[in-house]
């Protein structure tokens, strides 16, 4: 009952875990005949289980790191208090006001354009600019100090951008420079409203990660989108979930099967003022934004890396791994062999079965020999 069968059928594009795991994590083969001791001694399996209870690389990916406290000292404490007053009493209201004015200006311009210029080429151009502007307002609302390295993406077909994912603000940060069309999970609340009304105009595609049918539709939409010459560049977060910017989980292979150039983007946040990781299980996106808006600044580096192409004889998974290597190296992330969706689902029983198969094989072989 632990590993439900539901987890099995929604994993349409889940790569095979064994392709990623180092070979020594699989059960060892015994060289000799089978003795009672070998059968009774289950210590390797128990050690593995206890090891996972004490520490596991998967949970580490989603651990928020609270900033180092520096206000412990009696001399620093008043300074810290002053900081709190400034951040919450002055910066926060000012930033809230900026955001409000930004939104009002945005809506005042967006809706007339959206409804009056129906069917005209101008419309999408203006909407694109407006969305970029709105994202700049967001970035300003947390005093985003963002350094962009490398050439800025231009609008042309047959390319897809992939980036590591820490928070929904990744999208805002990238969007303020280039109006990307993004593939994202459907959200409830005001984020969902923005998704439906505004972001659809730049060609964003929404889906529900637990809905199999949705995912098929999305796969088709993706293919159409990259072929279309007028569409905005496509942005995908292939991890499919927010990771704490110290690790990177497996890339879903969907983005790497489109048969076009894959342009990696590496995003690294500096945790000096605030941890930009959005722990969606603990915090709503609104609270996440408030946390960012009450910090001194969000410091971040963005690297646009060399476009990559599928090599001869390379599978989509190998390609995805190669791109993940590049992003991990640039942003200083550690790679782990886990699927980010395990945050929501149990791993499929397939992986346990693989372990059982190897063990059974070795027992049977030795049974025949003796």
């Amino acid at each position: 009952m632990a590993t439900s069968s539901v987890a099995g059928d929604i994993e349409l594009d889940r790569p095979n875990l064994e392709d990623y795991l180092p070979s020594d994590s699989l059960p060892q083969e015994f060289p000799r005949n089978l003795h009672l001791r070998d059968l009774l001694d289950i210590s390797p399996v128990l050690t593995e289980a206890a090891g996972a209870i004490v520490d596991d690389s998967f949970t580490r990916c989603f651990k928020s790191n609270s900033p180092e406290p520096w206000n412990w000292n009696i001399y620093l404490f008043p300074l810290w208090c002053l900081g709190v007053v400034i951040r919450y009493g002055i910066l926060f209201p000012l930033r809230g006001l900026t955001l409000l004015v930004g939104w009002l200006a945005f809506f005042a311009a967006f809706f007339p354009v959206h409804f009056l210029l129906k069917g005209q080429k101008m419309r999408s151009k203006i909407e694109r600019k407006l969305v970029e502007m709105m994202c700049s307002v967001f970035v300003a609302s947390w005093t985003g100090v963002i350094k962009y390295h490398g050439p800025r993406p231009s609008t042309r077909p047959h390319q897809v951008f992939v980036a590591n994912h820490t928070s929904m603000i990744d999208f805002i940060i990238l969007e303020q420079m280039t109006a990307f069309a993004v593939i994202m999970q459907k959200h409830p609340g005001w984020v969902g409203f923005i998704q439906k009304t505004i972001l659809e105009s730049v060609g964003c595609i929404w889906f529900n990660r637990n809905d199999l049918k949705d995912r098929e539709v999305v796969a088709k939409k993706l293919r159409d989108h990259v072929q279309h010459p007028d569409s905005n560049p496509l942005l995908i977060f292939p991890e499919g979930t927010c990771v704490n910017n110290q690790y990177t989980v497996m890339f879903k292979k969907g983005a790497f099967e489109l048969g076009c150039a894959v342009c990696p983007i590496a995003i690294k946040y500096n945790k000096i003022f605030v941890d930009a990781f959005w722990n969606s299980k603990k915090q709503s996106f609104t609270m996440h934004l408030v946390r960012l808006m009450t910090s001194w600044a969000v410091v971040c580096d963005v690297w646009y890396l060399e476009p990559q192409y599928l090599r001869d004889g390379e599978t989509a998974i190998e390609f995805a791994e190669r791109v993940r290597d590049m992003i991990a190296a640039r942003a200083g992330l550690k790679k782990v062999p886990w699927d980010g969706y395990l945050k929501h689902n149990r791993p499929s029983p397939k992986h346990t079965e693989e372990k059982q198969r190897i063990f059974a094989d070795s027992v049977l072989r030795r049974l025949e020999e003796s």
Binding site: L34, L36, L39, V45, I53, K63, Q356, L367
Partner: protein, 175 residues
């Protein structure tokens, strides 16, 4: 945003340390406490079955269901005491006793043929037939001088699996 470790006082740590026969250092206990709180997501004071299974590396383990019967619902002290068997300082005898308990899951003090088959079933799943499993176990039992009607006591068990290669150690990461 209270720091979890600050909630353990020196007394608490010493109490836990005593409970696990000083197999863990104080720092290790602080680390384990952080881990415990992390796994106990709804802060009820114990880790539920579901929370254990949310660790993919654990839930993939062929023996996870059997182990759950031992660790499900443990409070922090017993959680530490369970893990202390995997400390490098724990004696080989203690480790063997734990393995024995995994076999003797209902605590009757002896391991029967049926227990052996059950553990092998967890480990091999559908890749061996029930018949093959029974044959394997009968074979190795007879080779070691037992029959399938024998029950193994802890002493038998110790005699069989105590060897220098037995290594069952897990290191507690300290930040």
């Amino acid at each position: 945003m209270g720091n979890a470790s600050s909630m353990l006082t020196q007394y608490d740590i010493e109490e836990v340390q005593e409970h696990c026969n000083y197999l863990f250092s104080q720092q290790e206990i602080v680390s384990l406490y952080e881990r415990f709180c992390q796994l106990d997501r709804s802060a009820k004071g114990f880790i539920s079955e579901d929370e254990f299974l949310s660790i993919p590396e654990f839930s993939l383990n062929p023996l996870s269901k059997r182990l759950l019967r031992m660790v499900d619902g443990l409070n922090f002290k017993d959680f530490v005491s369970f893990l202390s068997t995997f400390s490098a300082k724990a004696s080989v005898q203690q480790k063997i006793e734990l393995i024995f308990k995994v076999y003797d899951i209902d605590g009757k003090g002896k391991v029967t043929f049926k227990d052996l088959v059950e553990v092998l079933r967890d480990q091999t799943g559908s890749f061996m037939t029930e018949e093959q499993r029974e044959r394997v176990i009968t074979n190795v039992l007879e080779e070691a001088g037992y029959t399938r009607d024998c029950t193994l006591s802890l002493e038998d068990f110790t005699r069989i699996i105590d060897h220098p290669g037995l290594k069952m150690e897990v290191e507690v990461p300290i930040d």
